[in-house]
Symmetry: D2
Subunit: 213 residues, 4 copies
């Protein structure tokens, strides 16, 4: 019997909702492939979120941590391969107005850490389930990348037997409509994926990560 | 009591399925907002399809014709505004190998015809239903544009009390996966929309077009 | 000996410059393939610009009118095929704050007019000159489309022996940098083309249009 | 007086030319900001190129290594931030038909290495020169990423006082036309940048890297 910590984020920027929050809440309490899922939602703050996340890992002692985040404009579920030692806001401040530019997350940390969930197996499994996904080589430099990097760094520093990874989620249809530019007049509408399909993608990802341990 | 002819196309190019075929078949026989839907699937042939389509209109005498087609890479339901008097293959031959380049559909026809279904009302209604859509100003120059143009030209030439329009559909998730480029290695995955959501979009569009007549 | 009226627009939206203005000014007074080029810059106003344009045509009696406009995000020179009878701001008001939504340009006008400059020959010629270009099937619904539609409508109504068309220009490099989103932090930079190459594209287009008359 | 090794690649995939080859050859022998540039072109082979590259570094003992590569579809000069320990062909085999899938470059190597040329200063300098550029967080997983990773790994293993980095170049206009899909019929044309502007971007990048040492 294992435990999976599934993390989401509060809404940020001008978006009214965040699929990562919705899905972390939906799957909280589910048992998936024999792993008890604990879903939790974190604030979007460069200066505190990774500490809160690591504190929670320390407390819960999970076997797997899968973090979720919203990636506007992406067309599919993105299974992130690597987190890098950079905090940079890319024009989007966090929810308390902080926007670092090209700063390290950990002053003496490694340049980057690979996710340790089986990213290739997950994208193949999602394809088998008719859910569009891909491996992504960059989680950006915002809080999402920070979570991926920080959890690996924490696991290594503390010699934890912990697998972790990050999944970037596309817009929900409602967010795509909210973000569309003049759609009644041939403007653009960003790509999206219904929340039920996104939730199923996360469920399958947890199952593959659990079965591969 | 009105009749709606809902047309789809057979698969073309290298795609194994065509959402327009699936949805025309699914909705065939449904009654939507008091309109009897007759769903039919047409071949992808520059030289015959518009004749077959006009023959069927002549036979069935529908009040509304809504034609559906696949638009690879589009991110949302596209309600087409206008059909133009051009056949051009754009690198994709039809299913019998014919590929015209910048030829007129009708030698002495008008340059273009607006769709007469209420395109603005439809995109607003789809947004109300949380289905991403937009007005599109170009249906391309392949069979899809041909259908939109040819049905309007036929209705005008024969003085028919017929409203018609065209809806371009995105990839289904299965088609997006089939068309993805190296997704297990950070390639690209085109945008998609589940067939159930696409079907609901078409159902709502027929309802709005019927109620507005 | 012929005359070509080459029109550009003042800057609009938040852009500090407009390549169409720069190029209309640069080519003003040149003789290209035996055609005297008169370059003029027009304001960006839905309610007046087409009148100003038609008045100028009435005065100058040119053989060819080629109108230029900026198309943010396009990757290449776009030779427009057709102008449609729609004014719609698509989220961008004109320079006096007017933003129509899906209104006709001419209440009883045709649905659309094809450009009468030789669009296919122009894109082939530009390719021969190593300048990326394409035929575009939509000039949008802003002032650019308005110019293409209005000049054709005016020529037809007044039975003028006038060829006309529209060329959409990409960002200059400076505009791309100005419009880039957080490029020092892996944000996006829109595509662009240097003004010298854009100018050469317009020069070649005028030459082809002149030689084909 | 310093030495800069500037590397390019032979053409690969179906592309007839490679801007990285052209520019490495053009700048070979130039002195830029007091650094002697040695331009060299390498084969596109997963199994040998990084060895050839490291052998050449061993021989030449340069102060700076800047590697160039073609990144189809990118809109601007991309200054790469990081190379990761992954070889993966992403659907494009190398020039002898080898296509690894998600394999490590160095079995026991670090997960990734940051470029040590001043990436932020370079993008700011290019913007000052009206050349569109951005920091990129992923150099992919093909030979380009391999060069960035392998040179840093080699420098660290051999304790070299060597700064190195990677610049991804967009299509030249000729390559964009060659890669365009049906541009005479409203197909798509990928973004591009003239080779002179690309060359100037590389020249400025070498100058900034040299001045910052």
């Amino acid at each position: 019997m294992t435990t999976t910590l599934l993390t989401g984020y509060e809404p940020f920027d001008d978006y009214e909702t965040n699929p990562s929050e919705t899905i972390a809440n939906r799957l909280d309490g589910e048992q998936i492939a024999g792993s008890d899922v604990v879903g939790e939602v974190f604030p979007v703050e460069f200066e505190h979120t990774n500490e809160l996340l690591c504190d929670r890992i320390n407390e819960l002692d999970p076997d797997i941590v899968i973090s979720l985040g919203l990636a506007p404009e992406r067309t599919a579920i993105n299974i992130e391969r690597i987190g890098i030692n950079v905090n940079s806001g890319t024009g989007v401040p966090d929810n308390v107005g902080v926007e670092p530019e090209n700063e390290p997350i950990e002053a003496d940390g490694s340049d980057a850490h690979f996710a340790t969930i089986p990213v290739t197996k997950i994208v193949r499994d999602l394809a088998d389930g008719d859910i569009p996904s891909r491996i992504s080589n960059t989680a950006g430099t915002h809080l999402c990348n920070n979570a991926l990097y920080s959890v690996r760094e924490y696991a290594i520093q503390n010699d934890l037997d912990l697998d972790s990874g990050f999944i970037h989620l596309p817009f929900s249809p409602a967010l795509a409509i909210e973000s569309a530019d003049a759609y009644v007049s041939a403007g653009t509408v960003p790509p999206s994926m219904p929340l039920d399909l996104q939730t199923e993608a996360v469920r399958r990802s947890i199952a593959v990560a659990t079965e591969e341990r």
